[in-house]
């Protein structure tokens, strides 16, 4: 088993319109653990079973959306190598000093063809949670508070030129394509799912005319039953649900799409299969695009393609 290079999605920085409301949602309803606040007023969270200090970073702003999406790499040497590879590919990179994000080492940031700011980093402080490391119990009070996902899992981003995005992620960052949806012509991709691990996806993109848009950040739950529990908690808290509980054809995850109090979509999901890099990607044709996204309804809701932040 060799998981090397880019390890996983490590952090996402999300803009919120009202920090107080956002903190109630992310902290109490979603049930993430607040791990810090910085001098810019950003608030940091992690999910209960994550080992690093933070994964979701909120910033109050006058518009919703995503500031950047970061991947953790296996070592500082890999960070240097990938920085050089990204530059050689033709993308300018910026080094953001260690400590700019709490407990986070140097980050290398660049913009990809879809207009998103992507970051790589090698170091993040450990979650301060000894009870999860020494003789760890299978669950604890934090794993039961609110929706309480296991981890921040992946993102779906919207923007133009997704074939260029795929080329970059595959040929520079070492990802592989796990699934795709094709348009009527049977060639042009509407959407791509990419993995750097053996999850069915670590990041995904949908073709969209406007660059740098967020469709959702996603959080992993343990079971379909927890997905139903999440839906109950959402309704009890008047959370705006977009779709679900249902199943995605793509990745086979059981899912709910809903919106945070600033209109940023998030997903809580369970399941999906394991992949390997030597597998051929799964392809969904235009005729079955509905089932690809919502397996039971077999049709898209208009919001899937058009409601983004």
């Amino acid at each position: 088993m060799g998981m090397t290079g880019v390890l996983r999605p490590g952090h996402a920085a999300v803009r919120v319109l009202d920090m107080k409301e956002a903190m109630h949602f992310y902290g109490e309803v979603l049930g993430l653990i607040e791990t810090g606040r910085d001098s810019y007023g950003r608030v940091y969270y992690r999910a209960w079973d994550e080992r690093d200090h933070n994964s979701i970073i909120l910033r109050e702003a006058d518009q919703a959306g995503i500031d950047f999406f970061g991947f953790k790499v296996d070592s500082p040497a890999t960070l240097d190598k990938l920085e050089a590879d990204v530059r050689a590919y033709g993308y300018p990179t910026e080094r953001i000093p260690a400590g700019d994000l709490l407990q986070t080492g140097e980050r290398v940031r660049f913009e990809i063809a879809s207009g998103h700011a992507i970051e790589l980093y090698a170091e993040k402080g450990k979650a301060n949670s000894p009870q999860m490391v020494d003789n760890p119990p299978p669950w604890n009070p934090e794993s039961e508070r609110g929706i309480a996902p296991i981890r921040f899992d992946h993102g779906l981003l919207y923007g133009p030129d997704i074939e260029k995005v795929q080329d970059f992620f595959v040929n520079v960052l070492g990802f592989y394509l796990t699934e795709q949806i094709l348009l009527e012509d049977g060639k042009t991709q509407l959407a791509i799912w990419l993995a750097c691990s053996n999850k069915a996806h670590d990041i995904a993109f949908v073709r969209h005319p406007e660059p740098n848009k967020l469709h959702h950040v996603s959080f992993l739950l343990e079971s379909w039953e927890k997905v139903l529990r999440a839906a109950d908690i959402m309704s009890m808290n008047r959370i705006s649900i977009d779709m679900g509980p249902t199943r995605h054809g793509v990745t086979r995850g059981t899912t709910i799409y809903a919106f945070d109090p600033s209109g940023n979509r998030f997903e809580t999901f369970a399941g999906g299969y394991q992949t390997y890099p030597d597998w051929d990607p799964l392809t969904w044709t235009w005729e079955e695009v509905g089932a690809a996204v919502y397996y039971h309804d077999r049709q898209l809701n208009p919001a899937f393609l058009e409601v983004v932040t």
């Binding site: 319109l17 030129d161 005319p209 919106f259 600033s262 979509r265």
Partner: protein, 111 residues
């Protein structure tokens, strides 16, 4: 609890709206249509309307969709306004645009 009447200029349809619900909530709760529904939280912009007459309470909404000048001209996101009088509104937001195509990608990104 006061009830206000919201009139849509395009269709002449009216909607009763109490002073605890946003315009979008009032519409959705009655199973009515007319304003596109997206995030319901002021972020995505699909529920944009212009208030031509009347007053409402406004909650924070994304500047990406309602610029300051627009706000003073009555533009708003229906999921972030609560009518405080009878209103006359026109629907600006749209859903159901064509899918993005590679050609469109290039046009919009200026390549």
């Amino acid at each position: 609890m006061a009830t206000h009447t919201v009139r849509f200029v395009e269709t002449g349809e009216t909607l009763a709206c109490n002073d605890r619900l946003t315009l979008l909530q009032a519409m959705e709760r009655l199973g009515r249509k007319g304003i596109p529904v997206g995030c319901r939280n002021g972020g995505c912009g699909v529920c944009k309307v212009r208030v031509l007459e009347g007053s409402c309470e406004r909650r924070v909404m994304s500047r990406a969709h309602v610029a300051i000048e627009e706000e003073s001209a009555g533009y708003a996101l229906a999921c972030r306004i609560i009518p405080t009088s009878d209103l006359c509104v026109t629907v600006i937001g749209k859903m159901g645009r064509a899918f993005a195509r590679p050609e469109q990608d290039r046009k919009l990104t200026g390549e």
